[in-house]
Amino acid sequence: MLGLRLYMAQRLSAMVMIPLTLGHIAVMIYAVQDGLSAAEILGRTKGSDIWFIFYGLFVLAVSLHAAIGLRVVVHETLGLKGRALDVFMWLAGLLLLVTGLRAVLAVTL
């Protein structure tokens, strides 16, 4: 159920996420190690364009990536196919995108 295009989209978005997630995990480890509180973290992210772009990009990539990933899983385990499968993929992507962007805005605005 994956043609070359979807495959490419999934792999490219995964590659985009690699530095982002590693960065995120590193930050978290650093933060926890340094004993930063949640308030301190938020203090740094709020109003920062860099963090906005950082997490914004992540949300875009993850929406694409996970939507395609779920498409595969749903096809293989539930046997969904054709239009229904496409609709499912778009809905999943949209859900991630909307919730994700709201969170990014909340953290960085």
Partner: protein, 242 residues
């Protein structure tokens, strides 16, 4: 013969289509004995109606594969000592294929996909031409040699869970053949092959489960071949191949 240490308890799948059940047979144990010998013994001496398939009996034709203790194997070259557990063996028809009767599976889907994956040579010369001089030592040729000795036994096809869950998936053997053909400098149309393996059932559906490679009785590596196809399709994608 009694159920002593000399007897082998063999549970054999009986049935056709989706209906069936296991039936137990007691088979005398021998010094040199393969799973195929066990199955043949049952048909010849215990239940003449048992159906199965074999031809070459030396691991060349790929007709005799079955599930042995839940693992797909070529039965003509599987010594019972390799698989026996507590004097018992379970034998069932190959997974992921329709069952014709008992241990004989219908291999047509496997071969339909072999063709669908583009696994047919596209000639550039004909019988009136000289045979092309080709070095046996190019990287392509060396790579091809690792995948060309496939006996189309469908063991990898039975081992792959993507085949079971995705009806369109062309499967490891067919894709591996496409890969060797793609590498073949004699083939006129590698583009057609990439096209054929990029559809909904194509190489991109493989999740690198690796069961194909692990179970291939000939030690081939379809997983590697499929990765090769993925790379080739991706680079042709970037080169604007489509």
């Amino acid at each position: 013969m009694t159920a002593d240490s000399n007897g082998l308890h063999v549970d054999v799948w009986r049935g056709s289509g989706t209906e069936g059940r296991f039936e137990r047979f007691l088979v005398p144990m021998q010094e040199s004995q393969t799973i195929l010998d066990v199955v043949a013994w049952i048909q010849q001496y215990a239940d003449p109606t048992l159906s199965y398939r074999y031809a070459c009996r030396v691991g060349m034709c790929g007709s005799c594969a079955m599930m042995v203790n839940g693992v797909p194997r070529w039965t003509c070259r599987t010594h019972i000592k390799k698989v026996i557990k507590d004097n018992a063996i379970t034998i069932a028809p190959l997974r992921n294929l329709p069952v014709i009767k008992d241990l004989a599976a219908d291999m047509d889907p496997f071969f339909d996909k072999w063709v669908a994956a583009g696994g047919v040579h596209h000639p550039t010369r004909d019988r009136n031409d000289e045979i092309e001089k080709l070095s046996p030592a190019t990287p392509e040729r060396i790579e091809t040699d690792t995948g060309i000795e496939c006996i189309n036994c469908s063991v990898c096809y039975a081992a792959c869970d993507t085949v079971s869950s995705n009806v369109d998936f062309l499967g490891p053997a067919a894709l591996q053949r496409a890969w060797t053909l793609y590498l073949d400098p004699k083939d006129a149309d590698p583009g057609v092959i990439l096209e054929a393996v990029s559809g909904r059932g194509g190489c991109h559906n493989c999740h690198s489960q690796g069961s194909c490679t692990l179970h291939c009785p000939n030690g081939l590596n379809p997983m590697k071949a499929i990765a090769g196809l993925k790379r080739a399709t991706v680079s042709s994608f970037f080169k604007g191949g489509r």
